[in-house]
């Protein structure tokens, strides 16, 4: 065989490279963690990479996974070789089509990065819940356990399906395999050609629907024949396992890599065997080999083909000596007799024994266990625990491993330190910040090691849940022996900390091995750094005898023009210290990687990185470690002592990265969590924070309004409230006519601020003596941190909130005195979405119910450990929930229906109990309007009275009314989501809810792209913008969802942009809430995916409006009653060229850099779109009011 060539790629790329080359039609839809496969396929086709038949596959993005499955079904029925990629909820949406495609015996492969299913909470992480939910559809399920297998079995699946005519789901573990970078042997086109039988391809084509030989498929069948028809497919399923094995054998003959339907590894005379599939099989296999070498009679049976389940082959693959079997499932089926694989194994062995076909002397003990849900670690220690369980006289059945279950005591104890990694494997951990480029550099490093040396290598990258200031931990392994180890590094030879301040809060060296190396990016040099280290860090360095190196990478980066990116510098240090390559070779390899990665971005970028490499080693110093500690600083607690009990016990542990150790009993059983928890995190991300200058502030509230993180706030209060204020706490007379004697303070929370500077940018005031200064100015955080934190504490906890009934909500100035009930989210610094949500929470938060579509807003809104949604001092605040991505409008409508029904019932009960509770109270409660804050307050007083009286009434009606009394205050229903939801996947539902006429408010946070999954095109993406799945620029204009909604006539519609017109924004929210019918607000939301410094987000919003890209309007059906036209334009005709707006953003500029001619063409068309739309709007706004009134407005 020719010398093996290797590549370093991840599982997604491994599978996609096969799928793309073996397909003609590919329909895609983004969903984590499979999105990368679709993105690559789209990119390859855009780059004109052909399939093995020399033709470029057509790739189309659909509006949902359901749409993708339908499209693929159609493509298959018409004879194409077609594929798609998905995961989790996406696969669930495909299930109806899966039945059809299988029922019609259609050859295809869907590649799935297997992921958990949302239950008590959503999870993007890997397990088999999704594929298990598809196991009954009639599809073959083929499981890969590693990156190499993700490629190899992808090909085997494509080869087998053509012959078997059974469609295949080829799956591998989300993230653990889909995102693990591993050294693998690639398959070339000849390999693919060798496995794919051209005759079978043509046979597939021949079965296509064609008017030349018409047949009909998809009949409706009666009781007389449906049943028999279902049985017609049996021969295909019976033959399928053999066909797969044959493909595996042909593959082995060509590549030398032999797979079996059930791969057995371990002692030939094993007594204890684990049955498992997926990446966990790698862990079990390496543990089995180690235990077997130590004399234990253990083995593992790795399941490749799970459906069709070849029972006899499974039994035959087990050693006859088997006495005890543990079947491990990476899924949970609550209420079942056992998880799916377990049940199948039990059935297979039972049938074999009953049929005298089993090789075993006695019926083996068979137990089932769950492991690894949602990427929970699965390690050799856990494997050993499972084998230990099997050695018991009565092994625990239906166990769990990897967690502590102190509730129903299912869990097995395990030794987390047990390791089977081969000697010689070097394990390295890198702590970095999202924006500092650590992960990118480590991907390059592991690629260099994997592709430029004989060593084997593996990289896996862990992120936290925040979109701003997120921490990353890179796990790199390399060594002379092949690496399995699909789990995190628990003992590291090398640890690099790329951000000095991580040491304050994280036990960065916890996993360092004795005698290992510690590299620190430090503002202090080797001579002075020691005294700046926290005590636990000093202790660990001494007791573990670490070799300690420092470099001021931040300074080198600054001096070489790299800005905040220290990646290249730290990478150079890593190579210097690890010695994996000789010095000169390492430098050459790094530079080569730089040229490859950055070359296309321009020569000066390459040169800048080269300079950083060249200047690194002179700045790298080894510190001679003293033998004593000098610091008294302990690690900063994850939350302050004042945090509530749950936050201390549970949330804090998650924040500290110890969530894995939380036992079952402390977690809520139904997924309900307390709100108001981000306030305890104090992430201290900002380098600069705003400082208030009361002498020139006009108290307009604009800075408060735009702050994405609600960290800059204002209050007006009685001067007496200042008792106990910290020294230097600033205040000034309030500039409100209504509050002549009150004081005003604008205060920043220094430890929650992310330093985005939007407040500074929006401030309309300039110092008359120095035009650079405004009423808020950005100043370094560190020197102000302590003082401002004390000021904030006083402001936040001691100054009273303003009496809501004294404010005019529709004014920007007044609205910003309202307490935000959405604060300190993990959204990106400068986020354009969150100011709208915060405004919603200020205006209506204490009576709001929010249905939130999956996406950015559900992640920064609801991703554990904390939530920004909070409550006021009375304990009231938004009630928030996320159902799914696709159903959010319907979900929120459900809220409305409940509220309407139960309010009606409460009123009925009031009537029934009128005498018991007093006619006056009952009547005033029924009549009580809650249109404004004063009447809401009065109604709440009455409700308190009602509750008191009801406790004295002993009847079912009284108890019912007590349970419903709070509904007598009008609830504010909000349906919130992004454009991916509203324009694409949820559009059908949204449309139906608009058409329902029910009183719901829909807020679309329109970033014009799928932001959460990494910038894929939606139907909100404008013409000419580059997005994933629109690499060549979006060809068609953005859907005008706002205008479409006006067509109903009875829907309140507003298109808003806070940065362009904040007054219109506030009005739109007030009008939408007041309108007794469906309301739709489409809010321009600048986004990190637009590609510019978001501190200029508000300027861009202005330009979006001035250029006519985003005309502001409101459509208020109530205006008909006044004889006016409901359509009101809130902006002037376009006054700047569209290009002035577009080319400030990289999403548009990119096209001018990748395809200038096309960029020019699309710009011209987009400019024409603008003119045409404006004309249409003008006509609408100027036309006379329609004669008819809005039919069915409201209920």
């Amino acid at each position: 065989m020719a010398e093996e060539r290797y590549v370093m790629i991840d599982g997604n790329e491994a599978a996609a490279t096969v799928a793309h080359r073996l397909s003609e039609v590919i329909a895609i839809y983004p969903i984590t963690p499979s999105s990368t496969m679709g993105e690559l396929a789209d990119q390859w086709s855009a780059d004109r990479k052909p399939n093995i038949w020399g033709s470029i596959p057509h790739v189309i993005e659909m509006q949902s996974e359901g749409g993708a499955a339908g499209t693929i079904h159609g493509a298959l029925q018409t004879g194409a070789l077609a594929t798609t990629f998905t995961a989790s909820q996406g696969l669930l949406l495909m299930i109806p089509n899966l039945y059809k495609i299988a029922g019609e015996l259609t050859s295809t492969v869907f590649h799935v990065a297997a992921r958990a299913i949302a239950a008590q909470g959503l999870s993007i992480f890997g397990d088999h819940s999704d594929v298990m939910a598809a196991r009954q559809t009639g599809w073959a399920l083929l499981s890969s356990g590693s990156v190499q297998e993700a490629q190899d079995l992808a090909l085997i699946a494509h080869a087998a399906t053509l012959k078997a005519r059974v469609p295949f789901i080829h799956f591998f573990d989300g993230f653990r395999t889909s995102h693990e970078v591993m050294k693998i042997v690639p398959l070339d086109n000849d390999d693919l050609q060798a496995l794919i039988d051209g005759d079978l391809v043509r046979a597939h084509r021949q079965r296509a629907l064609s008017p030349e030989r018409p047949v009909m498929r998809g009949t409706a069948q009666n009781p007389d024949t449906y049943f028999q028809s279902r049985e017609t497919v049996n021969p295909y399923y019976l033959a399928c396992p053999g066909i797969v094995q044959e493909a595996m054998d042909r593959f082995a003959a060509r590549t030398g890599r032999q797979y079996q339907l059930f791969d057995y590894v371990g002692a030939p005379d094993a007594e204890r065997v684990i049955v498992i599939m997926g990446s966990g099989g790698e862990t079990v296999e390496e543990t089995v080999l180690a235990l077997h070498a130590a004399g234990e009679k253990v083995g593992v049976l790795r399941v490749r083909l799970f459906r069709p389940f070849a029972s006899e082959r499974l039994v035959a693959a087990l050693p006859a000596t088997t006495q005890a079997i543990a079947v491990l499932d990476r899924t949970k089926e609550p209420g079942s007799a056992g998880e799916p694989l377990y049940q199948d194994v039990v059935a297979a062995i039972s049938e074999a024994i009953a049929g005298d076909a089993a090789p075993f002397a006695t019926f083996p003990k068979i137990v089932g266990g769950r492991y690894g849900l949602a990427s929970k670690e699965f390690t050799p220690g856990m494997v050993r625990a499972v084998f230990a369980n099997l050695a018991e006289q009565r092994p625990k059945n239906h166990f769990t491993v990897g967690i502590t279950d102190d509730l129903t005591h299912t869990s097995l104890p395990f030794d987390p330190t047990f390791s089977v990694e081969p000697a010689g494997t070097v394990r390295c951990l890198f702590w970095g910040l999202g924006a500092d480029g650590t992960v990118g550099a480590n991907k390059n490093s592991i690629k260099i090691i994997g592709e430029d040396t004989d060593l084997f290598a593996q990289g896996y990258f862990v992120y936290d849940s925040k979109k701003s200031g997120s921490m990353t931990i890179s796990h790199l392994r390399f060594g002379p022996a092949p690496i399995r180890a699909p789990y995190l590094i628990s003992e590291a030879d090398f640890i690099a900390c790329h951000q000095f301040n991580f040491l304050e809060r994280h036990d960065v060296l916890a996993t360092a091995r004795d005698g290992g190396t510690f590299l620190l990016n430090s503002p202090h040099n080797a001579a002075t750094v020691w005294d700046h280290l926290p005590r636990p860090v000093q202790e660990t360095i001494i007791t573990k005898h670490l070799h300690f190196y420092v470099i001021n990478g931040t300074r080198v980066a600054r001096e070489t023009g790299m800005g905040a990116r220290i990646n290249t510098i730290m990478q150079t240090c890593f190579f210097a210290l690890s010695g994996v390559l000789p010095h000169d070779e390492a430098i050459a390899a790094i530079k080569q990687a730089i040229a490859k990665t950055y070359g296309k971005r321009g020569e000066s970028v390459v040169q800048m990185n080269y300079a950083a490499v060249d200047q690194t080693l002179a700045n790298l110093e080894q510190m001679s470690v003293p033998d004593h500690v000098s610091s008294n600083d302990q690690l900063i607690a994850p939350v302050p002592a004042a945090a509530p009990n749950f936050v201390q016990r549970v949330t804090a542990e998650m924040i500290a990265g110890r969530g894995d150790q939380l036992p079952v009993s402390v977690l809520p059983a139904d997924g309900s969590y307390p709100t108001g928890t981000t306030q305890w995190e104090k992430r201290n991300l900002a380098l600069e924070i705003p400082e208030w200058d009361p002498s020139i502030c006009i108290q307009c509230g604009k800075c408060v309004m735009v702050c994405p993180h609600a960290v800059i706030r204002e209050k007006v209060y009685d001067p007496a409230c200042l008792d106990g204020a910290p020294e230097g706490f600033l205040s000034t007379p309030a500039k409100w006519r209504e509050f002549p004697d009150l004081l005003y303070t604008l205060q920043v929370s220094p430890e929650d601020c992310t330093g985005c500077a939007l407040c500074f940018e929006v401030c309309p005031v300039k110092d008359k003596r120095n035009s650079r200064r405004k009423a808020v100015n950005m100043v370094p955080q560190a020197p102000r941190r302590e003082v401002e934190a004390a000021n904030w504490d006083f402001f936040f906890n001691h100054l009273p909130e303003v009496d809501r009934s004294r404010l005019t909500f529709s004014s920007v100035k007044d609205s910003q005195l309202l307490q935000p009930l959405f604060e300190f989210s993990g959204a990106c610094s400068g986020c354009g979405e969150t100011p709208y949500l915060k405004l919603l929470s200020q205006l209506f938060g204490d009576r709001a119910m929010i249905a939130n579509a999956t996406g950015c807003s559900s992640i920064y809104g609801g991703n554990l450990p904390t939530t920004p949604w909070t409550h006021n001092r009375e304990g009231r605040g938004p009630a928030w929930s996320n159902s799914l991505f696709e159903d959010n409008a319907e979900f929120g409508l459900g809220f409305r229906l409940t509220i309407d029904k139960q309010t009606e019932y409460a009123n009925e009960l009031l009537h029934r109990l009128r005498d018991a509770i007093g006619a006056d109270l009952a009547d005033s409660l029924r009549a009580g309007t809650t249109a404004d804050e004063t009447t809401i307050y009065q109604q709440r007083q009455r409700i308190d009275q009602l509750k008191e009286r009801l406790t004295a009434v002993d009847s079912a009606d009284a108890r019912d009314l007590l349970s419903l009394a709070d509904l007598l205050v009008r609830r504010s229903i909000w349906i919130v989501g992004g454009d991916g939801w509203a324009y694409d996947i949820g559009y059908g539902g949204l449309d139906h809810v608009l058409a329902s006429g029910r009183n719901v408010n829909i807020l679309v946070l329109d970033t014009e792209v799928y932001s959460n999954t990494g910038g894929q095109m939606s139907k909100a993406t404008p013409r000419g913008a580059v997005a994933k799945f629109a690499a060549a620029g979006k060809q068609l204009p953005k859907k005008d969802l706002a205008l479409l909604a006006t067509e109903y006539g009875n829907v309140y519609v507003a298109r808003i942009a806070m940065g362009a017109n904040d007054t219109q924004t506030v009005r739109a929210f007030m009008e939408a809430e007041a309108y007794d019918g469906p309301s739709l607000i489409i809010a321009y939301s600048h986004c990190i995916a637009h590609g510019y410094d978001l501190r200029h987000g508000l300027d861009q919003q202005k330009k979006a409006v001035l250029s006519g890209h985003w005309p502001l309007f409101r459509y208020d059906p109530r205006l008909l009653d006044q004889g006016k036209h409901p359509f009101q334009l809130d902006c002037k005709a376009p006054s700047i060229p569209l290009s002035d707006y577009l080319y400030a953003e990289m999403r548009y500029r990119m096209l001018t850099q990748s395809n200038p001619t096309e960029a020019q063409r699309l710009l011209k068309l987009a400019q024409e779109d603008v003119q045409a739309r404006w004309k249409r709007y003008e006509r609408l706004a100027q036309s006379d009011a329609p004669a008819t009134t809005a039919a069915g407005a409201g209920q």
Binding site: Q43, V439, S470, G602, S604, V605, N1012, T1013, Q1153, S1154
Partner: protein
């Protein structure tokens, strides 16, 4: 009578007329270049390739690709990355090539460098792309008080020499008027074998927005009848003509045939236009050309070359008019406008 001959030579190029659109947004687009040619442009100076812009674009692209990447489980990147970008200078070079293909008239590329290496490298690439000539756009606002004027001038001259030595196409230098001795630097550039001077570069001067207290940058557009703009090049061209053996392009404030005539009489080989064409569109070239012909016919000139330099400093009755004394006279003849009632 035969029609007067409008042809002229500039940088060794034979041109049909002295009417040349100068570097402006108009020449960014090949379609507009075609229109300019159709309407009678004798040559076109392309918009400038700015080395600073090349670097900035690369770094912006790199910055936004890099700093948004690898920070989140779900969004490991936010943009598709094409196999390659057509960044500057490739984009500019492609523009040169396409402009050359589109029209028959000479294409003069324009370059604004930062580093000595950059000037030379990009000049060579532009020449290879097929430009007929190259204009070096010396667009630089020195703000460092510790660098002497002599140093800056010497840098300019060295650079022009190096570029000239590294390419075979003709090279012109576009200067600002802010030299203590314009004649001195013009002479030294001529000695460096530069083929032409373009007089003058009009920097975009910052302005203030009094309401917003912001500095605003607006393109400096001259207007018809804006004599001020014209008079600066007029003076210097008249002085330099025949004093320095070098071709001269006049630029700044040319709106009408009369404007062009004056500059030609001062000694310009070509008169370049930007503002007038931006304001009135490429077709306006026809008007200027027709007016030029009409004026020459009316005044019985045979050709442009006949009048070129006819009112240079050496050929006017009052050469001192171009020198300092002139200032006094101008002020002396200035009439105070009568305030409106």
């Amino acid at each position: 009578m035969t029609q007067p001959d409008l042809s002229t030579t500039y940088l060794g190029l034979h041109l049909d007329s002295p009417l040349v659109p100068s570097a402006s947004p108009l020449s960014r687009n090949v379609d507009t270049i075609k229109q300019l040619a159709e309407h009678g442009a004798a040559a076109v100076v392309l918009n400038s390739l700015f080395e600073e812009q090349i670097t900035m674009e690369s770094h912006l692209l790199d910055h936004y690709l890099a700093t948004t990447a690898e920070s989140s489980w779900e969004a490991q990147t936010y943009y598709p990355e094409p196999d390659e970008y057509v960044l500057h200078p490739e984009q500019y070079l492609e523009h040169v090539r396409r402009a050359k293909e589109a029209v028959d008239i000479p294409i003069i590329a324009s370059l604004n460098g930062v580093s000595a290496g950059g000037w030379i490298r990009y000049a060579k690439l532009i020449a290879e792309a097929g430009a007929d000539a190259l204009e070096l756009n010396i667009y630089y606002v020195p703000t460092n008080p510790f660098v002497s004027s002599a140093e800056i001038e010497q840098n300019t001259i060295d650079l022009a020499r190096q570029v000239k030595e590294s390419v075979t196409i003709p090279v012109a230098v576009k200067l600002s008027p802010f030299y203590t001795n314009v004649a001195g630097i013009a002479h030294q550039l001529a000695m460096a074998e530069v083929d032409g001077l373009v007089l003058f570069n009009r920097f975009n001067q910052p302005d203030f927005d009094l309401e917003a207290l912001d500095v605003v940058i607006r393109p400096l557009i001259s207007h018809d009848g804006d004599g001020e703009a014209l008079r600066l090049p007029l003076r210097w061209i008249a002085i330099l003509h025949e004093m320095v053996p070098i071709d001269i392009a006049a630029t700044g404030g040319v709106h009408t045939a009369q404007d062009a005539l004056k500059l030609l009489m001062a000694g310009a080989n070509v008169t370049m236009m930007a503002s007038a064409l931006l304001l009135r569109g490429p077709a306006y070239l026809r008007t200027v050309r027709a007016d030029l012909l009409a004026w020459l016919e009316e005044h019985e000139y045979e050709s442009v070359s006949q009048l070129r330099g006819s009112m240079s400093r050496h050929k006017v009755a009052e050469p001192a008019a171009f020198e300092r004394a002139h200032y006094v006279r101008t002020v002396g003849t200035f009439t105070m406008p009568i305030p409106a009632p």
